[in-house]
């Protein structure tokens, strides 16, 4: 039976608006940047995506919780990364063979509020028109607004220790800026070893020379990840093949002399169309970013472009195996159209 046990809570927006809510999660006040995502499935994967660190997420799909929450091995990181979640209808009667707990149980366990606000469409329209906004969920105690983009979120979500995934003769370093598990898994699946290192690790200082380096996705403003940018510059000099994903796209760009900027309300969905520049090919991709590549560095060219708003979706070096994409080729959640990026990169890096 549908659980009607909830507490009352409020969502405050920085522009002064207040919305009444039912809280099915933990009774805890949180602050962050309020953003919306339009994917219709894959909420466990999205909620555990470290790129959402510091954000209060609104799902535009109104019915959430339907298939519950699977075991940890199917998450994208070891915990819920969002500061709070807002849905229109919370389903407390999940039905699925992989269901291990309800969404509310999960949020309570991880001490995060889960709000039901009926008119999430209105909230979405506000965020769309006014741009992503600071907000706070207040349960009992009031707390101040907090801008996650001013913090070094990457340092918070990155692994603290080095570990590896998969086996193989080739060893690929994955710089974890807040990586989703499926990046390492997608690469390891291709018969190589993936060594996951903290965000500020210099891959050239490791006990082995990496055959290639992947810069992961991650939360917040790329310019805050100064250590990563510095290390990537070294990799570029040593001609070690590089693949950047999402935040990694911005970092490769910054390390090569390009510029980034903040989008009005970002891309957070599973239906972003990207064109492969110079071809007739077009792919649907999952995206989750608030910043984007502005100027493209010298010796690089535009690789992909967004078909909706023409923003940059990837860059590639004119001759060397340096490349990056703004979208998520590893998907989860979302379409698997661009899984081939991993093959292409490994081929260009002479690994496959």
């Amino acid at each position: 039976m549908q659980n009607n046990k909830f507490t009352k809570a409020k969502l405050y927006l920085k522009n002064g608006e207040t919305l009444e809510a039912k809280n099915f999660g933990s009774i805890k006040s949180v602050a962050g940047e309020v953003v919306f995502a339009t994917g219709m499935t894959g909420y466990p994967e999205a909620l555990t995506d470290p790129s959402f660190k510091g954000q209060i997420l609104v799902f535009t799909y109104p019915i959430i919780g339907s298939y519950g929450v699977p075991k940890k091995e199917f998450w994208e990181s070891d915990k819920i990364q969002v500061s709070g979640l807002i849905v229109s209808q919370y389903i407390d009667t999940p039905s699925h063979h992989e269901n291990a707990s309800t969404l509310a149980q999960w949020f309570k366990k991880e001490n995060i509020p889960l709000l039901e606000i009926k008119d999430t469409r209105l909230l979405t329209q506000k965020l769309r028109d006014k741009g992503a906004m600071l907000g706070k969920i207040i349960c009992k105690k009031d707390i101040p607004y907090q801008d996650p983009n001013k913090e070094n979120l990457v340092a918070e979500v990155s692994t603290k220790k080095i570990f590896s995934v998969g086996t193989g003769k080739k060893n690929i370093v994955l710089i974890d800026c807040g990586t989703k598990k499926n990046i390492a898994e997608s690469v390891a699946k291709r018969g190589v070893k993936v060594t996951v290192v903290p965000w500020d690790t210099d891959p050239t200082s490791l006990s082995f020379t990496p055959d290639a380096v992947i810069i992961s996705n991650g939360p917040g403003d790329p310019t805050k990840a100064t250590a990563t940018i510095k290390n990537v510059k070294k990799l570029l000099q040593k001609h070690i093949p590089i693949l950047g994903i999402c935040l990694g796209n911005q970092i490769l760009n910054l390390a090569s002399g390009g510029k980034t900027y903040k989008l009005k309300f970002g891309h957070r969905s599973q239906n972003q169309p990207v064109l492969e520049v110079g071809t007739d090919k077009c792919y649907l991709t999952t995206q989750n970013h608030g910043f984007a590549v502005g100027t493209i560095p010298k010796n690089f060219k535009e690789w992909f472009r967004n078909a909706n708003d023409d923003t940059n979706e990837g860059i590639i070096h004119q001759s060397l195996p340096f490349m990056s994409v703004q979208f998520h080729p590893e998907s989860t959640p979302g379409p698997t159209d661009t899984d081939w990026i991993f093959d292409y990169f490994l081929k260009r890096a002479n690994i496959l």
């Binding site: 229109s88 469409r121 239906n271 169309p273 077009c282």
Partner: protein, 1073 residues
């Protein structure tokens, strides 16, 4: 495909008459395709005999041919028109089969006509189940273990290898026709025999018990770019045809692995087939995957069960559910464009290469009319039986689902309105799939049966059951606590309860609840469908209502807006012809600078297309919803007379609210609808009507019947399409029937009227302005009265009617129009006997014959109706017709196991066609050929004529058949009679006797057609008579069947006059010029 080619002229094939499995959705897809081609300045030739479609309107295609969609006629048209391309994927299976046959015969090559869109080889591959299974296996896509068979013996062996239960499907068949699940040898035999009767091949496959059924609508362009526009999940588990399933979009119970796993498989499939355009992929998904052979856990276990490489019913639904104009895009892609080149018509900001993100849930619910077919089986299964569908939109499943229940028939307020007599009946309906099962599910939940138990019986996913339980629990709470606080009432509205339902539970009227609700400030929000979940600001006109909102996406239109009510779901008696009127009326509003606001809930229509109206509400046609929308929009008024009976029924309630109704006043509509008022009206005007009386007791009835004598026509008031109407020939029949009919409609008295035998029936269709006729047309039924006007064969201009009769009709109509101050459309049905007209019915609304007459007379009747609302209609000057137009009905009996295929007072046809001809005979022949597979090469017929009169009256026709070289097979009585009259024939044994008998003759498909006439007044609904068996076998073997003497005679007369080669190949414009 030559991608750089600029096409000059393209021929588009339509789907012909509406039938079960192929309905109005192809009017929508064809219309969009034609518009897409016209934008590219390409000349379009359309072949479609479906006169009531929007796509056959004069201003759409350059040339329209009202001719059968079959290789013979299409070849002739190609030869004449010389198109350089042909589109096969917009006219359903009918168009596809015709196209494949043309290709196979080398006709397309001969005339250098290129097939646009997906390659023919791929289409053929998807149509051959065995080859296709091998193909999928090769590309690593799992298919259920299966084998094909062409004989019963082969089928038995295959079934044993695979193991029971098995699913049996007929290859090359519409909507899963003749397929079924067999649990044992006996069931297998039955199903396989049925399937082999209509198809050369059957497929036997592993039956996937209680798997989920999931569909993907996929679009691919010539560059290989692919999007899946929508995925859909069936509420009913596998085994029930998707056309008969309740479906939600997007899927609700699939996680990312499943959703995107199946999406990836869809991409792989369409890529392997090099699809250009649209393709539909159906999957069976195991809700509890088995482990891999190595014991590891499998996250996704699925099988592909069907692929349709064309636009389908599901694609129409997907298009309406998401706002993605699938057919339009598919047509552009077929011309060689890439998806990135095509603008998103909805957002106007993004491209067609995208996948819609929904921020709502859509529920599709089928509409069945099984009770309209005597003896038809109530069970549903893998062969489609529904005749239409509704689509609802909400922010929760509860909200959308309850809307859909109300839309489905207009008779039920909630899924808890089930009408089960007792718990036993409820449990019975829980145990097998039928149109009533969902009501049994709700009833069981309400009575406390556990969702788990219902799940184990029905296989319906727990998710859906819990949602329905939320509805029944909410209702149970209201039953316990009837106090309507703002909080309580809001919760009820959020969970989809109507004012009327709430009223029923708390003992108040819907008006009282409405008043309370408004006082408490509870109003629905108006939300838009923008394809991107609000991510981009889009100016969309595509709207729905929800109680899960605090804002409206649009502002009120105000006084320049006019609300036009559509027809609701297609069903027997209300079909595409009403959508045609609705669309034409809507378009005509532009003339008066009015903004049209259409309300309709039928995804198979053109009226619900994004570019037909200024605003579209995908909503129910109930008083509550219409009033909410009208009050929000602050529109000038409403038009209720162009969508058939359903909107017309709202006249009283809407006018009570003082809403302005364009057209005839509600009070006068009532005078035509209420039998007592209507009778008084005719008496006052001194117009004859068959004698009649209402009654409440059998005793009263018998007194009346004694006076007028049998036969009598029995019916309740507010008759729609002959439901519960019956001619009774004796006391017992009358008593039996009245017992049933009075239960059907307790609100209204049952009436009986004298049934006038051997009378002619005429249709009078007109538009009046301020009570004065401005345009009218008279058409004639070929069958005598007693065949429902929706089933009758109709001809314009009249062929056997005196000018003086027509004069009498016109004068009568004038009187009625004047008395009722009719403004706008109306229709009168006349009986004619011994030169005396009787009025049997007046409909103060657009009738079924409106598109037929509009096209025959080249006058836009709905547009004239709009003109009349504004006082601007000019009297139409009668023009003598240069050609004859004949309408034939399309029956779908072969889909309905057990139903008796015979014409009677209750309507049973699902669609219609009409063809022009230089004379009556030519038009009739074409028209019959458009609704039947008539083989001119077969030169034998089967006659079974009941009754002496029928035999005598048919004599001349029998002689004609003989003269034409036909071999006549006749059942014993008929044969004896013919032989006595010196007409040579072969006697054939009755169905019950040993073979060869009538049935084996029919099954051998040797006869070109069958004529089976029953004795007037004989019981027509027994399924063990010889006549029934002959009729059933005839439709089951897709052989033309004639059960009416007059039609049979007219047909044979036409056959004598014209051979197939004599039939003219002329376009609509040529007939008008």
């Amino acid at each position: 495909m030559n991608t750089n080619k600029k096409y000059k002229k393209i021929i588009v094939l339509g789907s012909g008459a509406l039938k079960i499995g192929e309905a109005g959705e192809f009017d929508y897809s064809g219309s969009q395709a034609i518009k897409a081609l016209k934008e590219e300045k390409i000349k379009v030739v359309l072949v479609n005999p479906n006169i009531a479609t929007f796509q056959t309107s004069k201003n759409l295609a350059d040339e329209v041919y009202f001719l059968p969609v079959n290789p013979y006629f299409v070849e002739k048209i190609i030869k004449k028109e010389k198109p350089d391309g042909i589109m096969l994927s917009f006219g359903g299976q009918t168009a596809l089969n015709c196209g494949l046959a043309l290709e196979k015969k080398g006709i397309l090559k001969k005339y250098k006509v290129e097939v646009l869109g997906s390659p023919v080889l791929s289409i053929e591959l998807t149509e051959d189940r065995e080859k296709f299974a091998r193909h999928l296996d090769k590309i690593g896509i799992p298919v259920p273990p299966s084998k094909s068979a062409v004989t019963l013996k082969e089928a038995k062996i295959s079934a044993e290898t695979i193991g029971f239960p098995v699913m049996i499907r007929a290859a090359f068949a519409l909507g899963g026709q003749k397929s079924g699940v067999a649990h044992n040898q006996k069931e297998l035999e039955e199903i396989v025999q049925g399937a082999l009767a209509i198809s050369p091949q059957v497929l036997i496959e592993k039956y996937l018990h209680h798997f989920k059924e999931i569909e993907y609508e996929v679009v691919r362009d010539k560059h290989g770019n692919v999007v899946t526009v929508c995925n859909m999940e069936n509420l009913d588990p596998l085994g029930i045809h998707t056309g008969d399933s309740i479906v939600v979009a997007p899927s609700q119970t699939l996680n990312n692995e499943e959703y995107h796993g199946l999406r990836e498989a869809s991409r792989k499939i369409v890529d392997s087939l090099k699809i250009v355009g649209e393709c539909n992929v159906q999957y069976a998904l195991n809700p509890n995957p088995t482990k891999n052979p190595d014991g590891s856990i499998r996250r996704l276990e699925y099988y592909v069960i069907e692929v349709n490489a064309r636009l389908s019913r599901s694609s129409a639904l997907a298009s309406k559910a998401t706002g993605y104009p699938l057919a339009y895009v598919a047509a552009k892609l077929a011309l060689g464009k890439g998806m990135v080149e095509i603008e998103n018509k909805i957002t106007k900001k993004t491209k067609s290469f995208f996948e819609p993100a929904l921020d709502y849930i859509v529920v599709k619910m089928p509409r069945w009319d099984l009770d309209k077919f005597k003896n038809a089986e109530e069970k549903i299964g893998s062969a489609m039986k529904s005749v239409g569908e509704v689509m609802s939109i909400g922010r929760t499943f509860e909200e959308a689902f309850q809307k859909a229940i109300r839309m489905q028939t207009g008779q039920k307020e909630s899924v808890t309105d089930n009408g089960f007599k007792n718990e036993m009946e409820m449990k019975k309906f829980l145990s097998f799939p039928s149109p009533r099962r969902i009501f049994a599910v709700a009833s069981a939940l309400q009575k406390g049966m556990s969702a788990e138990k219902i799940h184990s019986i029905t296989g319906i996913d727990m998710w859906f059951l819990e949602r329905i339980a939320n509805i029944t629990n909410t209702e149970n709470k209201l039953i316990k606590n009837k106090k309507l606080t703002k909080e309580n009432l809001l919760l009820l509205k959020e969970n989809g309860f109507s004012d009327k339902k709430i009223g029923q539970v708390v003992g108040k009227t819907e008006f009282e609840i409405r008043k309370t609700r408004k006082k408490l400030g509870i109003f629905p929000s108006i939300f838009a469908i923008d394809t991107l979940a609000g991510e981009f600001p889009a100016q969309t006109n595509y709207l729905y209502l929800t109680y899960h909102g605090n804002h409206n996406d649009v502002e009120s239109i105000g006084k320049e807006g006019i609300v036009v009510l559509g027809s609701g779901p297609y069903h027997i008696g209300s079909s595409v012809e009403f959508d045609w009127s609705c669309v034409h009326a809507t378009l005509a509003l532009k003339k008066y600078n009015k903004k049209s606001i259409v309300i309709n809930c039928n995804p198979e229509t053109v009226s619900t297309d994004y570019d037909m109206s200024d605003r579209l509400y995908f909503e129910n046609l109930s008083f509550e919803t219409v009033a909410d929308i009208f009050e929000f929009e602050k529109a000038e008024g409403l038009i209720i007379s162009v969508g058939g009976q359903r909107p017309n029924n709202l006249a009283k309630k809407l006018s009570k609210e003082k809403f302005k109704l364009f057209g005839t006043e509600a009070e006068n509509i009532d005078r035509a609808e209420d039998r007592n008022l209507f009778s008084a009206l005719l008496d006052k005007l001194k117009i004859d009507q068959p004698e009649w009386q209402s009654f409440n007791s059998m005793k009263e009835a018998m007194t009346f019947v004694d006076k007028v004598g049998f036969p009598v026509l029995v019916r309740p008031s507010y008759v729609l399409s002959g439901s519960a109407m019956r001619v009774c020939y004796g006391t017992k029949e009358l008593k039996d029937f009245v017992g049933k009919a009075s239960v059907l409609s307790p609100e209204y008295p049952v009436t009986i009227s004298k049934y006038i035998e051997n009378a002619k029936e005429l249709e009078f269709d007109a538009v009046a302005q301020n009570g004065e006729l401005v345009v009218y047309g008279i058409s004639e039924h070929i069958e005598n009265a007693g065949v429902h006007s929706g089933d009758a064969t109709i001809v314009y201009p009249t062929q056997r009617v005196y000018a003086s009769t027509e004069y009498q009709l016109r004068e009568t109509a004038k009187k009625i129009a004047s008395e009722l101050k009719i403004a706008g459309p109306f229709n009168i049905q006349f009986l004619f006997k011994d030169n005396k007209p009787y009025v049997i019915e007046v409909n103060v609304r657009a009738s079924r014959t409106f598109p037929f007459l509009s096209k025959a007379m080249n006058v836009d009747f709905p547009e004239m109706a709009i003109d009349s609302f504004f006082g601007k209609a000019k009297k139409h000057k009668f023009i003598y017709p240069k050609s004859v137009l004949v309408k034939s009905s399309q029956f779908s009996f072969s889909r309905l196991l057990g139903a008796d295929p015979i014409l009677r007072v209750e309507m049973s046809s699902t669609g219609e066609v009409a063809c022009f001809g230089k004379d009556y005979d030519e038009a009739l022949l074409k028209s019959i050929m458009s609704a039947n597979f008539l083989d001119f090469n077969k030169k034998s017929v089967l006659l079974s004529l009941g009754g002496d009169l029928n035999k005598v009256k048919f004599l001349e026709s029998a002689q004609t058949l003989l003269d034409l070289g036909y071999t006549i097979f006749a059942t014993d009585g008929t044969a004896d009679f013919l032989k006595k009259e010196n007409i040579e024939c072969k006697t054939i044994k009755k169905a019950k006797e040993t073979t060869p008998n009538t049935i084996s003759l029919i099954e051998s498909k040797e006869v070109a057609f069958v004529i089976n006439l029953s004795l007037e007044g004989s019981p027509k609904n027994l399924n063990n008579t010889d006549g029934f068996r002959i009729r059933r076998a005839t439709v089951d073997n897709q052989i033309p069947l004639f059960t009416d003497l007059h039609l049979a005679r007219a047909f044979i007369k036409a056959l004598a006059k014209y051979d197939i080669d004599d039939l003219e190949i002329k376009s609509y414009k040529e007939y008008l010029d």
